[in-house]
Symmetry: C2
Subunit: 312 residues, 2 copies
C-alpha cells in the first residue's frame, strides 16, 4: 500500500475501474422500509434507535458500493446530529470502510486558527495516540475550509505528510449560494476561488507531499456544477486531485465533471451521495427487487456514465 494518499487513491481508482466515490449523508426518514421495519425500536426520535438503523443502512451501502468505488466520503454532520452516539457510529463506519479496502474521506469541513487546527487535525485525521483507543482509525483524508488562510491549515498538512494522509481544501463548492464569496473578483478580474487555487497549488508542491503519481496528498474540492471554473482550476492546480461533489442531486453532470480531469483521465474523483444511497426513491430504480439492488444499479450506472464521458 502506497504511503502517499494521492498514490493510494489513484491505485484504488485504477483497480475499481472508475474515478468515483460514494458519499454517505444518511438520514433516518429516508431509510428503506426494510431497515426501519426491522428495528426493535422503530423510533426516529430516539438517538440510539435511529443511529442503530443508520449504522445498519450505512454498513450495507458500504458493502454494496465497495466493489465499484475507490473511496467513500462520510459527512460527519449526519452523525453529529446524534451527539456522542453519532460520533461513535461515525468511527465504527470508518473501520468498516477500511476493512473493505476503501479510502475514507471524512467530510468535516473544519478550519480555525492554527492552534485549533492542530487539535482538529488530531481529532479527525491523525491516527489516534490514545492507549485505550488502539483499534480506532481516523479517516485517510478530510475536507477543510480555506477562509482562515491556507497557511493556517499547516497542522493538517503536517499530519498528511507524516502519516500518509490527505486533505481536500474547499476551493469552489457546488452550491449556488457560494458564488457571492468565491467569485469575489480582484482588480485583474481574478476570482477568489482562483486565488485560493493558486495558494493550494503553491503549498501542495512542497517537499514530501507529491507522490510517485505526480499528485500531491493535498487536493481541492471543486464542484461539478461549473465546467468553466473547473477547466480554469485544472490549469492552476496541475498536481492536485479534485474531489468533485455536486454530481446527481445537485445538478452536476458527467460532462461538467469531465472538466475536472486531465486528458489522461486522471486528476479527479467524482462523488455522488443522495442519487446513489437513496436510489430506491428514484423512478428509474423503483422497480428494483430490493433497495440494495437499486443502490447497486445506481452506482454501476454512475460508473459507466463517468467512464463514458471521460472516453468521449
Amino acid at each position: 500500500m502506497s504511503s502517499n494518499f494521492a498514490d493510494r487513491l489513484l491505485e484504488g481508482i485504477k483497480s475499481k475501474g472508475s474515478p468515483i466515490a460514494v458519499g454517505l449523508d444518511p438520514q433516518y426518514s429516508r431509510l428503506p422500509e426494510a431497515i426501519r421495519e426491522n428495528k426493535e425500536l422503530n423510533d426516529e426520535l430516539d438517538t440510539e434507535s435511529a443511529i442503530d438503523a443508520i449504522f445498519e443502512f450505512s454498513t450495507k451501502v458500504l458493502r454494496i458500493v465497495a466493489p465499484h468505488v475507490a473511496a467513500v466520503k462520510l459527512n460527519i454532520a449526519f452523525f453529529e446530529k446524534y451527539f456522542w452516539e453519532g460520533i461513535e457510529s461515525y468511527y465504527s463506519l470508518v473501520e468498516e470502510a477500511n476493512d473493505l479496502g476503501l479510502e475514507i474521506i471524512g467530510d468535516v469541513k473544519r478550519a480555525d486558527i492554527p492552534a485549533t487546527n492542530e487539535v482538529y487535525a488530531k481529532a479527525h485525521l491523525a491516527n489516534p495516540e490514545f492507549t485505550n483507543m488502539e483499534d480506532l482509525l481516523a479517516p485517510d483524508a478530510v475536507t477543510v475550509n480555506p477562509y482562515f488562510g491556507i497557511e493556517a491549515l499547516r497542522p493538517f498538512i503536517g499530519v498528511a505528510s507524516d502519516q500518509g494522509k490527505g486533505i481536500f481544501i474547499v476551493c469552489r463548492s457546488s452550491n449556488p449560494e457560494a458564488t457571492e464569496i468565491q467569485d469575489f473578483a480582484g482588480p485583474d478580474g481574478k476570482k477568489l476561488y482562483e486565488f485560493v487555487a493558486e495558494q493550494i497549488a503553491k503549498i501542495s508542491s512542497e517537499p514530501g507531499l507529491i507522490g510517485n503519481s505526480g499528485y500531491s496528498c493535498i487536493g481541492a474540492v471543486v464542484g461539478a456544477t461549473d465546467p468553466q471554473a473547473a477547466k480554469r482550476l485544472r490549469e492552476i492546480m496541475p498536481n492536485n486531485l479534485f474531489l468533485v461533489p455536486g454530481y446527481g442531486t445537485q445538478g452536476g453532470t458527467a460532462d461538467a465533471a469531465k472538466a475536472c480531469f486531465k486528458s489522461d483521465g486522471t486528476g479527479a474523483i467524482v462523488t455522488a451521495t443522495r442519487s446513489i444511497i437513496y436510489a430506491y426513491e428514484l423512478d428509474q430504480y423503483k422497480d428494483s427487487p430490493t433497495w440494495e439492488k437499486a443502490v447497486e444499479r445506481a452506482v454501476i450506472d454512475m460508473k459507466e456514465q463517468i467512464n463514458a464521458a471521460l472516453r468521449a
Copy 2:
C-alpha cells in the same frame, strides 16, 4: 429572559458589568498539577481519564468566571479530540454553564452546503428534539464560516430566529495567516472581509432578527488584532454584535478591542481563552495561592482593562 439572543447577551453584559467572555480550550498537558494529581488514573493517553480531568477543570473554571462574565465560548475541537467521550463532556459543560446563568457560545466554525447546514444547525444550535435526550441543551449560539456563502447559512439563521438563538459569522479572524484570503481586494479596493460584512449586515436586518436592543441575533467574529479593520467593520455592521477573539495570548489589546465597540460602549463581547484559563502559568499570577485564584485574578484584571479602555 429575553427571547432574542442579542438582547439576552447584552442583559448579561450589563448585569456582570463587563463585555467579556471566557473561552474554554482545555488541554490536558496544561491542566494544573492539583487536578492532574487528583485523578485516580493520571494518564494523558487514556481518553476517559484525560476527559474526566478536563471536565473537572472546566467546571471549576466555569464557576470561577461566572460572576464576572456574561458568556463562555466552548471550542469544540478540544472535545472532539476525545471522540464520543469528548462530545458527551462538551454537552455536559453546556448544561453546567447554563445552570450558572451564562450564555453559551459553541465555537464550532461549521459551514457546508445548505442541505448539510440544515443538519449541522440541528446538531449544534437547535434544542434537541430527541425523546431520550430531553435534558440535553444546545448552546445559545454558534460560530459559522462564510466561505459557502452567507445565504447558505439560512438553516442556522432559521434556528436562531425560531428558538431565540444566535450565530456569529466569521468575518475577520484573529490569526495573521487569514489576511491572504480575507484581505483579498476587489477592483474598488474593497476587501473580502468588508464584502462579507456587507452581506452579514444585509441578512441580519431581516424581520424577526433584530431585538429590542437594536442588535441582531446574527453577529460577526472580528479579531482584536487589527483596529483599523475593526473600525471599518463597526461602520458596515451597525446592528451586529461582534465576538472579538485574539485578546491576550494572540496579541490583541484592550485598545484594539475598543474599535469593535460603539461610542456607547455596546456592540461587542471580547473573549480571552488561554490568558485566563491558564493564568497560573503566567509570571504575573504565579504567586497566587491556588490555580483557581490565578484564574479569578486574571478574569477580574481583564474585566478592568476592557472597562478602562472603554471609558478612556
